[in-house]
Amino acid sequence: MLRRQVGALAWVGVLGPLLALVLACGFFASRTDRFLTADNLSLVLQQVMVVGVIALGQTLIILTAGVDLSCGMVMALGSIVMTRLATSAGVPVPLAIAAGIGVATMFGLANGFLVTVVRLPPFIVTLGTMNIAFALTQLASGAQTVTDVPPALAILGNTVTIGRTSVVYGVGLMLALYLVAWFALRETAWGRHVYAVGNAPEAARLSGIPTRRVLIGVYVLAGAVYGLASLLSVARTGVGDPNAGTTENLDAITAVVLGGTSLFGGRGVIVGSLVGALIIGVFRNGLTLIGVVSVYQILVTGILVILAVAADQLSRGSAR
């Protein structure tokens, strides 16, 4: 019964952003006939796939009342590891991909270990690992863009034609990841534990939930997800870019907050983060189509973030 109510309540948090997204789409569609075409919507999805996947990992961590500032940088490091190995080191592509995802996962493990075992605050831990990942990215790449990436490494950037619209594989991967995460968080014991740890860690521990293991697991999983985002990033640009990650870092946290997940943990629906990422993408795309400079997207995003956090805070205040 309670579980149902909490579920329903969390969906209300998604409804607001969803409405904002639909209205924004309606607005752009009314201003230009180029917006609401299958090709353009596919393009928007393709443009948000990297941030969308990073935001998925980020959501898991924020649900446990943590935050991960290293997400974008870990993604950048993963993509440099993959591309460097596959080009100058001549490592076979599947192995290079595994190594890149492995490095990202190790960062997740390090974050999780420091947060749960050493008991350092996530904000500080990930601030540290963010800088470490950035420095390693620069060192591993020699601050140079890695080019001549084997096509197999960018395979997720290839398109499949559905109807008459071409959609990149990466978008399919992103949607599949969200589906899996949504199911796991909603229907499995592990998922309920993640919410419980974020809601009231002490109560969760006393009720027999292995809180440390759940927490470490979440960070490791998030790291692996950033590794997949690395692969998407390579697919999207066709290179290993040592300067990637800076905008993705904050955009991912922004997407999670826009999607209605509470920064205090324990509350939120994972699909909301996808909606959040899409809001950013739709504004950027739509404003360009109607000929308005894209800084307005950053302005609107800023306003929406404050509204989303305010809504969360207000609803918490009245719950007391």
């Binding site: 180029r34 601050a143 640009t237």
Partner: protein, 344 residues
Amino acid sequence: MRAQVPIPRSFMMSVLHIALVLVALTTAPAHAHAPLPIIGLITKTETNPYFVKMKEGAEAAARENHIRLLTGAGRADNDNAGQVTAMENMIAAGASVILITVNDAKAIVPSIRKARAKGILVIALDSPTDPRSATDALFATDNYRAGMLIGQYARAALGRRPAKIAMLDLFPGHPVGAQRHNGFLKGFGLLAPDASSVALGRPAEVVCMADSYGDQQKGRTGMENCLQKNPDIDVVYTINEPTAAGAHKALVAARKEKGAILVSVDGGCPGIRQVAAGELAATAQQYPVRMAAMGVAAGAAFIRTGHRPSGYTDTGVTLIAGRPIAGVESKDVKAGMQSCFGDR
């Protein structure tokens, strides 16, 4: 309990969400769509005065040629993904020509190739892609020559004193940074890689090198560290004028501003004022307005006649010096002020 949250309040917030979105949108300037052909201009960032000026030049040329101009930019000086997104969105908006000042000469190449495969004309403005052949054409300052001009000037101004040079560069791997750097060495009469190299030459006379990212604060830090390394530096090359301003602050703090010849590249109005004030000995001025106007005109010609421009077009560079030196051709501050960009 958490389950007690009053739902209507959340809905009110949602409504507020939407109201604000609409306010933000209706106050944003939107152009009614006329059936004009479209050209997209993508700059490094939206706010840098150099690119603001470039945008003005492009807008004027667009009006003249009956073109609708879309503009976009990366979010920061090295944001490649942002430029890729802007390019895709402009093509989705119907642009058949893209003018772009690339943030990452290599990283943007696969995306440009995709655009050109769709028949889009892509012209690089200001700096080349790597390889240069990735775009149809390049309209830019000859940065190697710009470096040579200030190198020659610094050599002449130094006279017989032995050269101890500090070089405050852009960041590793950027062709413009390398061309200005190596051009400077060449102009100074030192051993230097040619214009096609991305590696930075480092003869013995160069006693210190630092990356400034074209930023005033990093320029200052770089100069401070160089002075720690060698207090006798007498020539300072800077990648641009904000870097030079930072370097000047460091020199003043160390009371060395009289003993060092500071040179730079750009020709922005604040930079020309630096020359007028004697902080900067000389700067090589480039012309973003001309660059953009030529790009738009070439794009308009392509749209109307199908003619694809190709190769490299030099958009000019002039040495602006506070004090003319015999044997080195230069123009004065007044001439520099007339064609500078940024706040006069």
